[in-house]
Chain length 456, copies 2
């Protein structure tokens, strides 16, 4: 009988994260202060992040030790298995071997706790007793509530009002882990109150929620702010995913020809792929595909430019692919793919052609997700389904070309709390969104006034 | 660093199920035909079950081979890990070692697919192309939809109307796996139409849903009926859980002093415990505790008697602990524990004092579940929380007695689709149900007219 899973023994869990800043052919360009447009100094970030995380943010050390206290909590579910998708292969009649890393195995159901636990730990040792954050659909708020619960920190989550009302399950998860989740705009911050005064019926936005979480952090005692994607230290914490995968492929004496993941802010993709990008920098032949939504085609249709990380225009200017911080993505079910920008590290690697971007619409994604659920048994998050659409295309290509190929994708999360999207798809109610050139250009004008990053 | 999980290598997955009928000190007493009250013959069951499963139902062979085709599908998520709950131990300051088997790791989120996949396979080889079943809260309907999906069978699930309307997520899971889930009573069966004609506003019941599923099976082509608990072959399929646990404890050179699981119909508990009951029959010292709800105290307050397995009084009479087939349990969140009877195999072993029953109310259960979520990170099903309440009591006892003790419990399912119960508990809105003696006696009178099983 064929092996179905590659299980890494617990004692083989990686003890260091991989920092790709040590190996990038083009160094990362600095974030700029939103007012002075001068490079941001570590001290500028101290009101919202602890120094130990700021040090990780700017570090160029190749390997960074994972503290034992973090490893112990990660080992609640890590190492995660790599599965062979043999039933999917058979369904597609492809000569390709398809593998996937299962990050849906965490208690919160996605890769997010990999960094939430690390951030909670570093804050705790730095003397923080309370963390704030914002959340859209709720995945990140859940992960941080879990992380804070395991290290005894308080957690306050500002959840965009429309999601707060439409997605009660995720806020109930936060509550079960002891987190406090409020609808944003809230009456708990000055900014929230001012927004409510101006428009009591507002449905909220991620930009508003970020502003509330940051205001809370800078005005409350022993409180810091936490972010679930985009930043360098978040990508760093996620590399445990790809480092495990490398050890797992060593165990079976194989090496992936193609690595695929979905991208919103970039964290699950960076986690699985950066250790392989390193191999590629040093000469290994491997195709690395970042899959986004056609409804938010940051990498495939946006420019590489300096832009704000948030829609509220409060963060430093980051060098990245962006659709402009005022870009309003269509309401696709894959909430995690609706981000206007992309992690600077990942953006630079796309610019340097080490990573190849590709976009699928949500009909293609759900079609792939349903095939996967009915062959491999697992119901994936709508974000993950975009990666599976690319996997199926690559597997079909291998069939046409008659090529043996090893394909790996990252199953970034399960879809058990995202079932209404499947329902709408199966009932034929979903639409695809292909944006016109006008729609893309519309929100890019804002970028004209910012400095330009270096493009070789 | 302490080991957090005991991982059984895939090649060590058990190749045979354990049939406790071979070793029981008192043999199982026969099911009786509902009309003749004579022992049921295998042929009587043929209209609803295929012969290969009927043979398993009556087999007294100790070990029954698991077909490769079933193993391959089980290995999508099996073997499941045994976790050390060291953060819970620390929180309780107990000298006891606490371990749990994680059956929440399956794609449907519970132990139910262990038998759903086996039943789908055996039906397929027997020529069945379509299975019917009933479901209350929806766990079983999901598991069978998954099983049918993996073997290419059609699946029709009759879901009790009140759950169908209140718990949309589970029926969306069934739909995603290709199952057809209808609200019961439905217009698809004669019985359903008759119920609707008499009371169009009925909220339905498990009894009605069973009658619809059975009518559909016996009147449709190549269609059989499938049951997710109570029957001997279901318990058999679940023993893979305990057989894995035994191998896992061998790996660390330990043996549990106490084994704990929750019981509704008895399948997850039988699965984890029967291999240990066998050891106990052959002289091993081990305490085995079956935990039920005080709102449905079948084992702790019901008699051992012949009774119908269903509320519609259509099944054979089964020898079991029962509260009477007309018993109406209070609306606790742990829907899986609201069954009036108990698996005959498990009932006989309780009667023979090999298994010790115990009951907790839902406040105790949720309190335990919240402690577990905030220490171990995992949010469990409300059914599982009853087992955790017993674990915490046993761990506290070990502390008082200053005893080193090894406690194992079965985490039968995760609670990600059961969050409203946590919400109600945390808001102080849940009540405990302790039944009066009158409430217990009320539904027991029906049993007087049935034959009495042998009680030594």
């Amino acid at each position: 009988m064929q092996t179905q899973k590659i299980i890494l023994p617990e004692k083989e869990i990686p003890r260091q994260w991989y920092n790709i800043q040590a190996d990038m052919p083009s160094p990362l360009q600095p974030p700029l202060h939103p007012f002075t447009q001068e490079p941001v100094s570590p001290d500028d970030l101290l009101p919202i992040f602890p120094m130990n995380l700021i040090e990780q943010e700017v570090s160029t050390e190749r390997w960074i030790d994972i503290p034992e206290e973090i490893l112990e909590k990660l080992m609640i579910w890590r190492p995660t298995p790599v599965h062979r998708a043999s039933a999917l292969e058979k369904y597609l009649q492809t000569p390709a071997k398809i593998y996937f890393k299962n990050e849906g195995a965490s208690p919160a159901g996605s890769h997010k706790p990999n960094t939430a636990i690390a951030q909670a730990y570093y804050n705790k040792v730095a003397g923080t007793t309370r963390l704030t954050t914002e959340t859209g659909a709720g995945q990140w708020g859940c992960a941080l509530s879990l992380g804070c619960s395991l290290f005894g920190l308080e957690c306050k989550v500002y959840m965009v009002r429309v999601s707060y009302e439409q997605k009660p399950y995720r806020r109930l998860m936060m509550k079960t882990w002891g987190g406090t989740c409020v609808s944003s705009p809230s009456r708990d911050t000055e900014f929230g109150r001012s927004v409510l005064a101006a428009d009591p019926e507002t449905s909220g936005s991620l930009g508003i929620a970020i502003s509330e979480a940051v205001e809370d952090a800078v005005t409350s005692e022993n409180t810091k702010y936490s972010l679930g994607s985009v930043l360098n230290h978040v990508m760093l914490h996620q590399t445990i995913v790809g480092l495990e995968v490398q050890k797992q492929f060593e165990m079976i004496g194989d090496y992936p020809d193609v690595i695929i993941g979905c991208v919103g802010g970039g964290s699950n993709f960076s986690g699985v792929s950066f250790p392989y990008v390193r191999d590629k920098i040093f000469g290994q032949k491997v195709q690395i595909i970042a899959v986004e939504s056609t409804a938010c085609p940051t990498l495939t249709r946006g420019p590489f430019a300096y832009d704000y990380g948030d829609t509220a225009a409060k963060t430093p200017l980051l060098p990245m692919y962006t659709l402009g911080h005022n870009f309003m993505p269509k309401p696709i079910h894959a909430g995690g793919l609706r981000y206007h920008g992309m992690a600077p590290l990942l953006s630079q690697l796309v610019l340097d052609q080490l990573i190849e971007p590709r976009a699928y619409n949500q009909l293609q994604a759900y079609e792939a997700g349903v095939i996967f659920a009915r062959t491999e048994g697992m119901i994936c998050a709508p974000e993950t389904n975009h990666a599976i659409a690319a996997v199926i295309e690559e597997a079909k290509k291998a069939k046409e070309e008659g090529k043996q190929k090893t394909i790996l994708f990252n199953l970034s999360g399960h879809g058990l709390l995202d079932l209404p999207g499947y329902d709408a798809f199966l009932d034929g109610e979903l639409v695809e969104y292909e944006l016109s050139e006008n729609e893309i250009q519309h929100s890019l004008h804002d970028l004209d006034s910012f400095p330009r990053p270096v493009i070789k």
